[in-house]
């Protein structure tokens, strides 16, 4: 067993970044995730030589990542909803230029300046592209502090495997709460020469150009086709999810991130009352675990999707089950966290009392 610590989600993520041998962090402070840049400013450079730079804005930060990632380096940032909105232009460029990078959105309540309390209102933005054009991020949704740490290394592996930005979509509560976390061992920062990276024109080779501009529509379509093939490959190879109690389930609770734990507790409470409830937690939000929903849909009476937003993931659940079972949504918005009791109450209202 590795080193076990009691850590905030934000700190665990920062510590994991140091241990993953990340080369650079560029960011701009915003609640509820400023602990990440504070922790890294304190710890990272002296331990691994990792660059930690507070940018003048999220707009600048994401473009610094573009530059660093274009040199083949492991570059990352973290922010929260309004800051992530500012990064959308840069993300579109990064996705189009096929550069690897990792970012975390410690989602807070919106829209607008909103609140600093936890929310999941950025699901659409995270999973459907977010910026302009046809592109996707690979989105990982941790549900505890351990995964806040674990998904850093995994995120970079996937980012470099697909040369695509990877987002950890968490929320203010996961960022702020402390839990036991087993830290991974320190890995060295490594200097890898990628053939696509701009590190100075090779003496016996072609110059490298990193660009998202292809003025000929046929060429741009080619790029789009390649991107879509990549996303298809992600759908085939990278789907991750977790289930509980599916064997005898008549109903399914589904939720991602922190809410999935609250839904798990609601399931336990429901089972105590005799309702046969199962549980599905998508871990990758893109690619979405469609197949497991397709599988269970014909044999359950209904699926209750629970979110801290107005019902965003529920659209993907509905698309997955394709009308094969009833899908309902329950959630809270604007930074309000639902309780297990109210989830169960609403389940009973919708599915048991037949409303």
């Amino acid at each position: 067993m590795g080193e076990v610590k009691l850590m905030k989600g934000n700190e665990a993520l920062a510590e994991a970044a140091i241990r993953a041998g990340v080369d650079a962090y560029f960011g701009y402070p915003i609640t509820p995730q400023s602990e990440v840049i504070e922790y890294l400013s304190r710890e990272a450079t002296k331990r691994t030589g990792m660059l930690v730079l507070q940018a003048e804005s999220e707009v600048a930060a994401i473009n610094m990542i573009y530059g660093a990632a274009g040199c083949g380096k492991k570059a990352m940032t973290t922010s929260s909803s309004p800051g992530i909105s500012l990064m959308q232009e840069g993300l579109s460029y990064i996705a189009s230029a096929e550069l690897p990078c990792l970012l975390a959105n410690i989602n807070r309540g919106g829209p607008g300046l909103g609140t600093i309390q936890p929310a999941q209102g950025d699901y659409f933005q995270a999973t459907k592209g977010g910026g302009h054009g046809d592109y996707r991020l690979l989105v990982l949704a941790p549900y505890n502090v351990q995964e806040m740490a674990d998904f850093v290394k995994l995120g970079f592996e996937l980012a470099f495997k697909y040369r695509n930005p990877v987002m950890i979509l968490a929320d203010g509560a996961l960022g702020q709460m402390m839990e036991k976390v087993e830290l991974p061992p320190q890995e060295p920062r490594v200097n890898v020469e990628y053939p696509w990276a701009t590190t100075g024109k090779p003496k016996n080779g072609e110059r490298r150009v990193i660009t998202s501009l292809h003025i000929q529509p046929e060429k741009m379509e080619e790029i789009n086709i390649r991107l879509q093939q990549k996303y298809q490959k992600m759908k085939e190879e990278e789907v991750r999810y977790q289930t509980k109690n599916l064997e005898d389930a008549e109903y399914i609770f589904t939720a991602f991130g922190l809410v999935s734990r609250i839904a798990m507790k609601a399931m336990d409470l429901g089972r105590q009352k005799g309702y046969k409830i199962g549980w599905i937690r998508p871990i990758t939000l893109f690619p979405f675990p469609e197949k497991i929903f397709q599988e269970v849909a014909p044999r359950v009476k209904g699926i209750l999707d629970i979110e801290m937003n107005s019902g965003q993931m529920v659209e993907d659940v509905k698309l997955s089950v394709c009308g094969k079972t009833r899908v309902e949504y329950y959630g809270r918005m604007g930074g309000v966290v639902p309780t297990p009791e109210e989830i169960l109450e609403n389940f009973e209202r919708m599915f048991i009392k037949g409303e």
Partner: protein, 264 residues
């Protein structure tokens, strides 16, 4: 004359001792998309000459902007990244911080550098980022067909100031070099032009000095180049060069604005 004879003649004339001009090897041998008479092609050429002469083709990474120079990477035979509009200095920060031993430059127009990218330029300058910014100021948005730039002169007609730039409504022409020169992170600010042979030579010298300062690690270097836009100014190349001399340069005077003290 028979064709063989022409070949022989050419062979006799094209010899090293007769060479009076050649393209730098660092410039790709392709047609440029720039309009006839445009200063961009001149700056591309002299900058690539500097890169060739300094022998740093394999050690330099450039950042192309959004604007007419968006395709700079199609001409300059060096590793390059193309940045989002205005973000060249942020992208260059990412590159230089990762590769501090390499030369890094951005190549930006007035809109990219001083309008949409004003904040990125200002803060890169203030952090003393150790790279070169080549700033082409032609007082107009070229690529999007002649709209007003932050550097458009008072009274100057553009498609978005069709009655002439009125400072009361549209603000004043921005002297970005003078704005950032006092910052301690800024090593070198100079304003040059490419409207005549003498100015071209001075500009080339300035570009070379800036790269030397970068090698010494002195900090942010800005080489502003007052240039022309014959197409959008609706002038012949010659007329446009005259306009640079008689109208732009009086407002944007040439010469060094800040020079570092270098111990010899």
């Amino acid at each position: 004359m028979a064709e063989e004879n022409v070949d022989v003649l050419v062979e006799n004339i094209v010899t090293p001792e007769n060479l009076v001009y050649r393209k730098p090897t660092t410039l790709l041998d392709v047609d440029m998309h720039y309009c006839p008479g445009c200063g961009h092609s001149t700056v591309h050429k002299i900058f690539m000459e500097v890169v060739e002469e300094m022998g740093i083709q394999n050690d330099i990474i450039g950042v192309a902007p959004v604007g007419c120079a968006v395709f700079a990477y199609n001409y300059m035979d060096v590793d390059m990244q193309q940045a989002a509009h205005g973000r060249a200095c942020a992208v260059a920060t990412g590159i230089k911080r990762m590769l501090p031993d390499k030369y890094v430059f951005t190549y930006q127009g007035d809109g990219d550098l001083a309008a949409i990218g004003g904040n990125e330029t200002l803060h890169a300058a203030n952090r003393g980022e150790n790279f070169l910014v080549i700033f082409i100021n032609n007082a107009v948005y070229g690529m999007t067909s002649g709209q007003m730039a932050p550097t458009t002169l008072e009274g100057m007609v553009t498609t978005t100031s069709p009655y002439g730039r009125d400072p009361k409504v549209m603000g004043y022409p921005l002297k970005f070099g003078e704005l950032i020169a006092p910052l301690p992170g800024v090593a070198y600010v100079t304003r040059q032009a490419v409207n005549n042979v003498q100015n071209v030579r001075r500009t080339k010298k300035a570009l070379q000095r800036a790269l030397e300062y970068q090698k010494m690690g002195l900090g942010f270097c800005l080489v502003e180049i007052v240039s022309n836009c014959p197409s959008n100014w609706k002038m012949t190349p010659l007329e446009s060069n005259k306009y640079v001399q008689e109208v732009l340069i009086p407002y944007y005077p040439l010469g060094d604005i800040k020079v570092p003290e270098v111990k010899k």
